[in-house]
């Protein structure tokens, strides 16, 4: 980029642009397109006609602001109004009214929807593009068979196949195949047409036998045969209209609708010129496809690569919303039709307004946002998470693949992914490779293709032209890789540069190059491009890093990274967490919760986010950056959001690390830290939890919220105000009552224990008519009540259900058991916190903050952390911040190492600390044991690394159970921490206990502590009274369950005792 001064500046597109563009596409023409499909509706007597005048539809400005929508748990949406007309055929007079069709949820400029107060995002789906794909496979005889797969717009597949006898089959279901002739005639062409339209009629004729001839004699026969094979039914079906309709619905609509993209692909692949609006599969297509198939058989034509991105398409928000909108309109049509008929029958005069209801559209969108797998709750752990979430691309979802069945091929990186889908950033586990992330420069093109920019190198113009190319195009150009040395040299003539051409990597002379990539980051997604020295890391670790950066918790005091990549600024900016002035002006008022700007004669108030809870319970907070009286430019940062400093993303802290073993406390990726990180609040974060309770109406009456809770200690109720809700600002601990609630209950004498009843009789206590169902703070929860909200929904006639939400903020210091990670996939768990005087210390006495295991580096091959660590140390001494673009090796050999060493050398010289750079062991230093003062045997790598604290914290995970609830059916303890569950003693644990011969422990595990109902109740009694615990006599509950399940399969399992004396058989209940 330095080469040409005339070249325009290219900036990275805004990260939420993909989402926003998609939504704009929907609003701009997706909406109109679907509205145009709305038909004129007539009643059965054809007297009234209803129609929408779609040209003048209107979207109203939303009534509420985004922030209010979140706070009030509402949907941020806009109302859609369309003029509608009702025409009376006999009188020819028309009644026109503007009708309210429904609410359309709106996307904010960050690409987020707010539905019922929850931030939601619709992620892009990657689907196989509709069209035809040719493949070849070896059959069991080792002979190639060629197949052409036709994929419809809905994902349905049908196949054409040519076997070794050159017979062509159409495979309509998994097992059955029928002759191409039969299927074509079923689609409506006769033999003559077929033979006229194909290139090799002799081949078609060669496999035409007598039976087929009869079948294709008439269309009815062909359809019958087709139906028989398709539906796999035997017997002799009779041709009928209903059969035809079923076939139409099941086959032609699902498997043959190509859509516009499919029609285009089909035309291209088969060299056809069928008009674009013909979106269905035609007999001509099938015949052309068969022609190609024959060509393939004889070695003409090329096979397709299904995994190539040119054969994929993006189904974006626009398409998903448009589909839903279409669905809603169909529902509306049915409603209108029904109402018209009803009105006519009852001799009522309808108006357009009472024909149209808003329910179909509103409920359709509600269920779409609530239930569709691609509509997800926005992950808001930190600012990075938010933007990355909107840039995900998924192969999953309706019409797509499933995690369990997807092949390895499809999960793999493909050469066409370059610059479009990140080769690194994907989820781990079952969905690996299926959920990807778009590269930072990628764009979604008009036909659902992903485009990436290149510089076009042409002889004619001096200027380098930026062109966005789709995957089908750039393959045929020679693309010089952006990381080659030659690009930045003056003379390119005799240079040979590494280049990509047709999925190969070649070394090509410079003059043959057509395109070059524009930016070293072009290949990577947002998460991966925040890793400094990524080129020195193994891809697996880089993957982990890009995933873990998204799990970093915003800290109470953030800090910029010393070593970064330069994209931190844009990441923070596009995430929208910091407040940015939309225009220039002067700050006339600042406070913690708002900033008031004045400019051009009017004032604008910018509200700030105050200790807001994100859906991962992290704390979102904005802090003013400008002072009163300052003049502000447009785009200047007014307030820093969570995990941003000075407009840059700041997820972690720069801490002094050493790579050395320390008494085994960093065995297996454990990390040893200094107490300084705890008491200086280096890694202190705030977490805000929400606790919610609702009141319901029971058969005995409504529930009450009150302070008067009988039978509870006053200590637990100490925080309640007179309404029975916890007071703002009170400190609450586990078990405290947050909201006092009583549920009415009929007092049944029998429900009390005998001694209870006796007491009542003696003391004359009134039988309580209610049961306490209070909101208690669950285990692990403690903190300060920072907000209490009482929401009253307008419910039915007399009773309004109430919801009470209590927000509790918690301050969490770093603890043993918390997870920390660097930006190179180097993660670990805190194993010990040492006082600062015990930590190893440097030659100037500074104690180290963290000790990592050196063995965590070689096998993981994430050497980037070493570079970062040393460069961070230099930056710390020199007061510099480095922004290192990846692949700096293109400037010279070992550029990264040279940079790090030269900076270290300079730091050592400037600060007169010779130990910072020692030529015998550069980067390492002799350090001392804080407990003894002895130097360690070997020089140790020390430096400043940027370390993140991740959301996986012990406080959320620690769990134990002594007694608790049991599952209803198996009577075994429940699972999971949330339900106070037990720890499963699985089969391997049982083997271990068996192996040790600890029979009693094993028995205890399987009976008293698990599902032997009687004995586990007795245990409680005997431990109170004192005495020996009886052995459980019979089988535990899960065994009884097994017996009963066997019985339901008509297998009887019984238990008999045969007496030794008289051979009497005693039947026992099993």
């Amino acid at each position: 980029m330095l080469r040409n001064r005339n070249e325009g500046m290219s900036t990275i597109p805004e990260f939420s642009q993909i989402q926003f563009e998609g939504f704009c596409r929907f609003i701009d023409w997706g909406l109109a397109e679907e509205l145009h499909k709305f038909p004129k509706i007539e009643d059965t007597d054809q007297e009234i006609e209803f129609q929408l005048f779609v040209e003048t539809y209107q979207l109203a400005e939303p009534l509420i602001k985004e922030r209010d929508a979140v706070y009030e748990s509402l949907t941020y949406s806009s109302e859609l109004y369309v003029p509608a007309g009702l025409i009376w055929k006999p009188g020819k007079d028309m009644q026109e009214q503007t009708v309210f069709i429904g609410n359309i949820p709106l996307m904010s400029s960050l690409g987020i929807f707010i539905v019922n107060g929850i931030y939601r995002i619709v992620i892009n789906q990657i689907l196989q593009s509709p069209g035809i794909y040719y493949r070849s496979e070896l059959d069991h005889n080792g002979i190639f068979i060629y197949t052409g797969t036709i994929i419809s717009d809905w994902g349905g597949r049908s196949e054409l196949e040519i076997d070794r006898k050159a017979r062509i089959w159409a495979r309509v279901s998994r097992k059955q195949k029928i002759s191409i002739l039969v299927s074509s005639s079923a689609m409506g062409s006769n033999l003559r047409e077929i033979l006229e339209n194909v290139r090799y009629p002799e081949i078609f004729l060669s496999f035409l036998n007598e039976r087929d001839k009869k079948k294709i004699g008439s269309r009815e026969n062909a359809i019958l045969e087709f139906y028989q094979q398709f539906a796999c039914v035997g017997g002799d079906p009779v041709f009928s209209e209903s059969l035809c309709r079923e076939l139409q619905k099941k086959f032609f609509q699902q498997r043959c609708e190509l859509g516009r993209i499919g029609r285009r692909n089909m035309n291209r692949r088969l060299n056809l010129d069928i008009p674009q609006n013909n979106t269905f599969l035609l007999p001509r297509d099938v015949l052309a496809a068969a022609d190609h198939l024959i060509g393939m058989k004889f070695g003409m034509g090329t096979l397709d690569d299904m995994n190539h991105l040119k054969n994929k398409r993006i189904r974006s928000v626009a398409d998903l919303l448009q589909d839903q909108f279409g669905l809603a309109l169909v529902r509306l049509e049915n409603v209108v039709r029904g109402t018209i008929c009803g009105a006519i029958r009852h001799k009522l005069i309808p108006t357009p307004q009472n024909l149209v209801t808003s329910t179909p559209l509103t409920t359709t969108y509600e269920s779409f946002f609530g239930l569709h797998p691609l509509s997800q709750v926005l992950d808001r752990t930190n600012p990075l998470t938010q933007i990355v979430h909107g840039r995900k691309s998924s192969y999953l979802g309706p019409g797509g693949l499933t995690g369990r069945t997807a092949s390895f091929r499809i999960r793999d990186i493909h050469t066409s992914h370059y610059g479009r889908i990140c080769p690194i950033d994907t989820s781990e586990g079952i969905n690996v490779g299926l959920i990807g992330s778009l590269a930072i420069h990628a764009r979604v093109g008009p036909w659902g293709s992903i485009k990436t920019p290149f510089y076009e190198i042409s002889e004619r113009s001096k200027r380098l032209q930026l062109v966005y190319l789709s995957p089908s195009v750039d393959e045929y150009h020679m693309v010089a890789a952006g990381n080659s040395l030659a690009l930045n040299r003056g003379i390119q003539e005799e240079q040979a540069v590494p280049a990509r051409y047709r999925q190969e990597f070649l070394t090509i002379a410079w003059e043959q190059i057509h395109l070059r990539s524009i930016f070293p980051f072009q290949y990577f997604s947002m998460g991966a491009s925040l890793i400094p020295f990524i080129e020195h890391n193994d891809a697996n670790r880089a993957l982990m890093s890009s995933n873990m950066q998204r799990q970093a918790v915003p800290l109470s005091r953030s800090e910029k990274c010393i070593v970064g990549t330069g994209l931190e600024r844009q990441a923070a900016l596009d995430s929208g967490v910091s407040a940015i002035s939309e225009r220039e002006g002067k700050v006339i008022y600042t406070n913690t919760d708002k900033i008031i700007l004045s400019g051009n004669g009017d004032t604008i108030t910018i509200p700030l986010v105050m200790y807001q809870r994100s859906n991962k319970n992290t704390c979102m907070h904005q802090k003013t950056q400008v002072s009163r009286g300052k003049c502000i430019k447009k785009g200047q940062i007014l307030a820093n959001g969570a995990a941003t400093v000075g407009g840059e993303l700041a997820l972690g802290k720069n801490v002094l690390v050493a790579y050395m073993p320390w008494e085994g406390y960093n065995f297996e990726d454990a990390v040893l830290i200094s107490e300084r990180l705890v008491y200086e609040d280096i890694y202190t974060s705030f977490h805000i939890r929400k606790y919610e309770i609702q009141t319901h109406v029971t058969s005995q009456g409504p529930e009450r919220i009150t302070k008067e809770i009988p039978h509870l200690e006053t200590h637990l109720l100490r925080n309640l105000d007179r309404n029975g809700i916890v007071m703002l600002g009170s400190w609450v601990e586990t078990g405290d009552i947050l909201v006092g609630k009583l549920t009415p209950q009929t007092a049944k004498e029998s429900s009390y224990a005998p001694e209870d009843r006796l007491l009542r009789a003696i003391l004359g206590i009134q039988v309580s008519t209610s049961k306490e169902t209070c909101l208690k703070l669950p285990i692990g929860g403690r903190g300060r009540v920072i907000d209490v909200r009482w929401i009253q929904k307008k419910g039915g006639s007399s009773y309004n259900p109430e919801t009470i939400r209590v927000y509790i903020s918690q301050k969490r210091e770093m603890k043993v058991g918390d997870k920390v990670a660097g930006r190179h996939g180097n993660k670990g768990i805190i194993s010990k916190i040492l006082p600062r005087q015990d930590m190893p210390y440097l030659q100037d006495g500074t104690p180290v903050d963290m000790v990592f295991n050196p063995l965590g580096v070689p096998s993981r091959m994430n050497v980037g952390q070493i570079f970062e660590c040393s460069l961070g140390l230099a930056g710390d001494f020199l007061g510099r911040h480095y922004r290192v673009a990846p692949f700096d090796e293109r400037y010279e050999q070992e550029a990264s190492r040279k940079l790090v060493f030269s900076e270290l050398y300079e730091a050592s010289k400037q600060t007169a600390n010779p130990w910072v750079f020692e030529p015998e062991y550069p980067g390492k230093s002799r350090i001392f044991d804080g407990r003894t003062g002895d130097p360690f045997d070997q020089p140790v790598l020390i430096g400043k690394s940027y370390i993140l604290k991740l959301i996986h914290q012990v406080d959320d995970k620690i769990h134990g159970r002594s007694s608790g609830h049991y599952a209803l059916v198996t009577q075994q303890p429940l699972r999971g921490r949330a339900k106070q569950g037990g720890q499963r003693v699985g089969e391997m644990e049982v083997w271990a206990l068996e192996g040790f011969g600890v029979a009693h422990i094993l028995q205890e595990m399987l009976t008293y502590k698990s599902d032997h109902i009687r004995s586990r109740q007795e245990v409680l009694g005997t431990t109170i009274v004192g005495g020996t615990i009886a052995n459980p006599g019979d089988a535990p509950e899960s065994f009884r369950l097994l017996v009963r399940e066997l019985r339901s399969l008509a297998l009887e399992l019984n238990h008999f005792l045969l007496s030794e004396k008289d051979f009497q058989i005693h039947r026992k209940e099993a």
């Binding site: 609040d681 009170s730 009540v785 903020s809 006082p835």
Partner: protein
Amino acid sequence: MVREEIAVATGAPRWKCVESRIDSKRLYYSRFILSPLMKGQADMIGIAMRRALLGEIEGTCITRVKSEKVPHEFSTIVGIEESVHEIVMNLKEIVLRSNLYGTLDASICIRGPRYVTAQDIILPPSVEIVDATQHIANLTERVDLCIKLQIERDRGYSMKTPHNDEDGSYPIDAIFMPVRNANHSVHSYGNGNEKQEILFIEIWTNGSLTPKEALYEASRNLIDLFIPFLHAEEREIHLEDNANGVPLALFTFHDEFAITNIRKNKKKMALKSIFIDQSELPSKTYNCLKKSNIHTLLDLLNNSQEDLLKIEHFCMEDVKRILDILQKHFGFDLPKNGK
């Protein structure tokens, strides 16, 4: 320069401050030397001093705040630029100098608009502010900022979890560590067996005490720790049950009498290490014994039968069972009544 002085210095080690500078009001630095020292001594003193400087020096901090109007630390006050939490964080960092014992009260009572700095804290006479310019809050409007503070002197750090006290105050995490950093290095000179060493100690403090004071304090703390060794050994610290008054004479093994005593003691030790858990008592008896602090066989033998009967819920049968067990397994008996 230093070397010349060292050449002069012989005999008893002496110390000297060779470098001292005040980088800011809250960053003092000094470098000291101690010489001459014998081989190995410098290291010994150095590490002890470093650890004492980092871990043992006391400091003064604000440990508790109370404000009438503020409901909780995540709220905001109109007219103040900082949130309550930020003010609390600023208060945490204020460096104080004192030599008080116990806790003292201080307060801030300011009316805006103005900047509030550490200078505005109204302190008791024994406490001083080190850096009067330390920022606390910025009042942008005509509002009152009234905070009551509590000051404590301690060492290390304290992190208290708040409780709902009646007075509505909450604790601040305090860091009582006036020494920012300390380092030592050893320089040895001389030849052969006559090697001598110089100890360099570098100290950075936060201004609440000078490095010299810190050095003094650390040495005093160290001396205090060693003083017990200067006193006579306390002989009967661990053997609480030496009825015969014979100490566990470690250095008189040749004495016959001592050996028998050791044997006796050994048996007692053995009894002490047998817990009643091992003696197959019924769980009720076991629980009763545990409740009355009888954990080992030795504890049990120290009680008479009468004593046992005094235990709550203890009946004759239980005592009998215990007697049986003792007889059967150990051959002991319990005295009928107390001594």
